[in-house]
């Protein structure tokens, strides 16, 4: 990876985006790359929009991704895709979890979930995939494992030994969740 690779993850607070981006960063560090990762904490609590920038390369400078240069955009929720379009270019590989979480104004009946706009936007990318990560996790018995399904999906974009990912994921979780998350990761690897 001579050139810096930029991965942008976006979703809603509580979906496990920080954990997913931590795992990506740590796997790539162990694989011998320079890594920087940036996210916003603070007022983005439960239910707020969350984003995490991960940059991987020989030597990384900015921890945030310049606009127009995300190589991968990984969205854990559909609407969140629409907030990060300016970070994409025509070659950006976009993966979106097939899940809708209503923002408060939609909940209050003051706004509509922008479904049509989402559909229209997806057609603009050469490399767009809608993935059933939440449904897969639910089938495995716990929707909270959706982030690990997503890790399984994007792990295939990097030429890294599968066991490195699994060790890193399980190392961050209590033992009682190992079986579920192992399955979640494997399901993600098989999707697409």
């Amino acid at each position: 990876m001579e050139k810096t690779t930029s991965v942008l993850m976006a979703g809603v607070g509580g979906q496990g985006i920080i954990l997913a981006s931590d795992i990506l960063s740590e796997v790539m560090l162990d694989a011998g790359f320079d890594v920087k990762k940036s996210e916003i904490h603070g007022m983005a609590q439960r239910g707020g929009s969350v984003s995490s920038h991960v940059r991987i390369g020989k030597k990384v400078f900015s921890p945030t991704i310049p606009k127009g240069s995300a190589d991968y955009l990984i969205c854990f929720e559909k609407l969140e895709l629409l907030r990060w379009l300016d970070f994409c270019n025509e070659d950006t590989r976009v993966v979106v979890n097939d899940l809708e979480i209503n923002p408060p104004s939609v909940n209050l009946g003051e706004a509509e979930y922008p479904r049509a706009l989402f559909e229209e936007t997806t057609k603009k990318f050469k490399n767009f995939t809608l993935v059933p990560a939440s449904r897969t996790a639910m089938d495995l018995g716990n929707i909270r494992a959706a982030n690990v399904v997503m890790i399984g999906i994007f792990s295939k974009f990097f030429d890294i030994d599968e066991s490195l990912w699994v060790d890193k994921i399980l190392g961050k979780l209590p033992e009682k969740l190992h079986d579920l998350n192992r399955k979640a990761f494997d399901s993600g690897r098989k999707l697409d």
Binding site: V12, G13, D22, S25, E26, L29, D34, V35, K36, K37, S38, E39, I40, H41, G42, M43, A44, Q45, R46, G47, G48, S49, V60, F61, S62, P63, T64, P66, K67, G68, L79, L82, R83, W84, L85, D86, C88, N89, E90, T92, N102, P103, P104, S105, V106, N107, L108, G109, A111, E112, Y113, P114, L117, T121, K124
Partner: protein, 604 residues
């Protein structure tokens, strides 16, 4: 060994490796994780949450005066609170090294302003280091302690949100212990700032500053990277990383020490490059000082913004003057996800009642500041820690009799401990009729659950005395002190109405821990649900702005044949069972399979 650390974790690691034995802080984004990491990872270091940043600096001074190495950390606005001791600490100097970490928040991700604290270093005439990533955060903290002891001065290290909250590889090393003997050191002419001693110490400060200026010329933290001599960029901190991203071919003078500035190094660099750019976030701090030196700057804040954080994209656009043409633009009006009070939050019932009674609420800093947002929109001021009580007091005097029954002050428990007590004493002392609500949820909630002197626990989770707000109010002279349950809407409305009408000051202390504070809420309550057939679509529950309640727009009739525009539902996985919506439903459509009581724990 290399490990991925956030800037804040790296700062804590730096303190550990530098032999620090004392660390104090008051929580505040983006600085909070510094002390949290010290407390969690490094038992060799005494760690405390202090009541506020002024106390945090004062206790660190006390430790440093004995010869210990002490670190104090805070967010940018915290330095305003600590500014009083800081300005004179510059005069006394230290004994053991003392390093003050200021974590600035360009872009106001979680702050009330975006002040640039590099100005404090100049103001206090002390050195400031500015790391640009996690490795430097660790290294610079260690260097800061050496400089502190070498020059007998406090040293500031400035981080920003993007350094504090970014993770990057850090090489870990062993701890080395401080070199000074720790003992009582009597030295009144150095530590007692009577005018007679202070005058002499001012001279010492100025002499020290000249030495520091000389030192800045040779310190290896200021680095020149000569590449293409066509463009030279002077920059520091996170701006360096952004600039390198955009202009990898340019020559750089990267300042690791941003105060005092190395004039000779700067002149030397200037002479080697054709055009000089200064790329810095927020204020034109470096640029203005270059101009004072008479050095020509070809590009700086004439094109770069003073407001908000820099990004590689902004730098590229502004410097080249070529607007970016993105592949896709973000559509406007995408429904946002603003921060909101959690389901079951004790503040919600309070704000619902304040809104119902049409009161003006002088507000403060914490989760409850979110009460200003729709649909509750019932908080009316927010300036700085503790200001709510002063605002209400001032209003009572300006309005006189016609203000009675019209306003309250709302302040959280941690904020009250931080800066509320003096204001509260003033309310009684100067005979105001103001009503003050301490929205006590028993934790510093906004920053992610940090303990404080009224929570009953230390930073390391040991049990300790908890300040009794009612007893305190009594001691300050309050005759009307009411403990009220904000989940009981009827009771809370009655109490609030009664107290604001009185011609004496009142203190209302809310009972009800933060909905996320597991130790105070041992058993989860069963969620409520909506019998959707019964719902008449009146939207009373929707007005609470609870994230668990959803409006379903669908015209029709309910089971009793009543016309409705839609109906409400409750998301069971989000509902904490606080029961506010249950109390508001006029048609008993909101039900639970659990026990009905007011709040998340019984008998508040």
């Amino acid at each position: 060994m290399k490990k991925l650390l956030s800037g804040n974790e790296a700062i804590a690691r730096g303190a550990y490796e530098a032999g620090v034995t004392f660390a104090s802080a008051y929580p505040g984004t983006p600085s909070t994780e510094i002390l949290e990491t010290v407390a969690k990872e490094y038992p060799e270091i005494y760690a405390e949450w202090s009541p506020n940043e002024k106390v945090a600096l004062e206790v660190a001074m006390g430790a440093a005066f004995t010869g210990a190495r002490a670190m104090v950390s805070m967010k940018h606005v915290g330095v305003n609170v600590a500014a009083d001791p800081l300005m004179t600490l510059s005069y006394t100097g230290i004994c053991g090294g003392l390093v003050l970490i200021t974590a600035d928040d360009p872009q106001l991700y979680s702050s009330q302003n975006e002040q640039d604290n590099r100005n404090y270093a100049k103001f206090a005439k002390i050195p400031m280091l500015e790391p640009s990533d996690s490795q430097e955060a660790k290294d610079f903290v260690i260097r800061a302690f050496d400089i502190s002891e070498q020059f007998d001065t406090p040293v500031m290290v400035r981080s920003v949100t993007r350094v504090s909250h970014s993770r990057a590889p850090v090489e870990l090393k062993e701890r080395r212990e401080g070199t000074q003997e720790i003992k009582v050191r009597k030295d009144p002419s150095k530590y007692v700032m009577l005018p007679v001693y202070g005058r002499k110490r001012h001279v010492v400060v100025e002499e020290r500053f000249l030495k520091l200026k000389k030192y800045a010329e040779s310190i290896d933290l200021n680095k020149i990277e000569m590449n293409d001599p066509e463009t030279g960029i002077i920059t520091s901190g996170i701006s360096y990383q952004y600039a390198k991203e955009v202009f990898p071919e340019a020559s750089y003078l990267k300042l690791g020490m941003v105060w005092p500035l190395p004039e000779k190094v700067i002149r030397d660099f200037r002479s080697k490059v054709k055009k000089l750019y200064v790329i810095e976030e927020l204020d034109p701090f470096i640029e203005e000082n270059l101009k004072i030196m008479g050095i020509q700057v070809d590009l700086g804040k004439d094109v770069l913004p003073i407001c908000g954080e820099l990004t590689p994209s902004i730098i590229k656009e502004k410097v080249t003057g070529i607007p970016m043409r993105p592949f896709l633009t973000n559509p406007e009006n995408i429904p946002s996800r603003p921060p909101n009070m959690c389901p079951g939050c004790p503040h919600r019932g309070m704000f619902y009642t304040i809104k119902k009674l049409k009161l003006f609420a002088a507000g403060d800093i914490g989760c409850y500041t979110l009460g200003a947002l729709p649909p509750l929109t019932s908080l009316d001021t927010c300036v700085c820690m503790g200001a709510s009580i002063g605002h209400a007091m001032g209003m009572s005097k300006a309005l006189g009799d016609k203000g009675r029954g019209k306003f309250v002050a709302v302040i959280g428990d941690s904020t009250f401990i931080h800066s509320g007590m003096t204001g509260l004493a003033n309310v009684v002392y100067n005979k105001s009729y103001a009503t003050v609500i301490i929205a006590d949820n028993r934790i510093t909630a906004m920053t992610g659950a940090q303990d404080h002197p009224a929570s009953g626990y230390t930073v390391r989770g040991e049990e300790t005395h908890a300040v009794d707000f009612a007893e305190l109010g009594k001691a300050l002279g309050f005759k009307n002190i009411v403990k009220a349950n904000p989940y009981n809407l009827e009771e809370y409305e009655r109490v609030l109405k009664e107290e604001v009408e009185k011609d004496e000051p009142s203190l209302i202390i809310n009972q009800g821990p933060c909905a996320l504070l597991k130790r105070a809420i041992p058993k989860a309550k069963k969620p409520y649900y909506v019998e959707t057939d019964k719902c008449i679509g009146c939207k009373r529950c929707i007005g609470l702005g609870c994230p668990a309640i959803t409006w379903n727009s669908e015209e029709g009739t309910n089971a009793d044949g009543k016309k409705r525009k839609g109906y409400a539902t409750i998301e069971a996985t989000l509902c904490n069972g606080c029961g506010l919506c249950y109390q508001l439903c006029n048609v008993n459509a909101i039900k639970t399979e659990g026990k009905v009581f007011f709040g998340l724990v019984e008998n508040l």
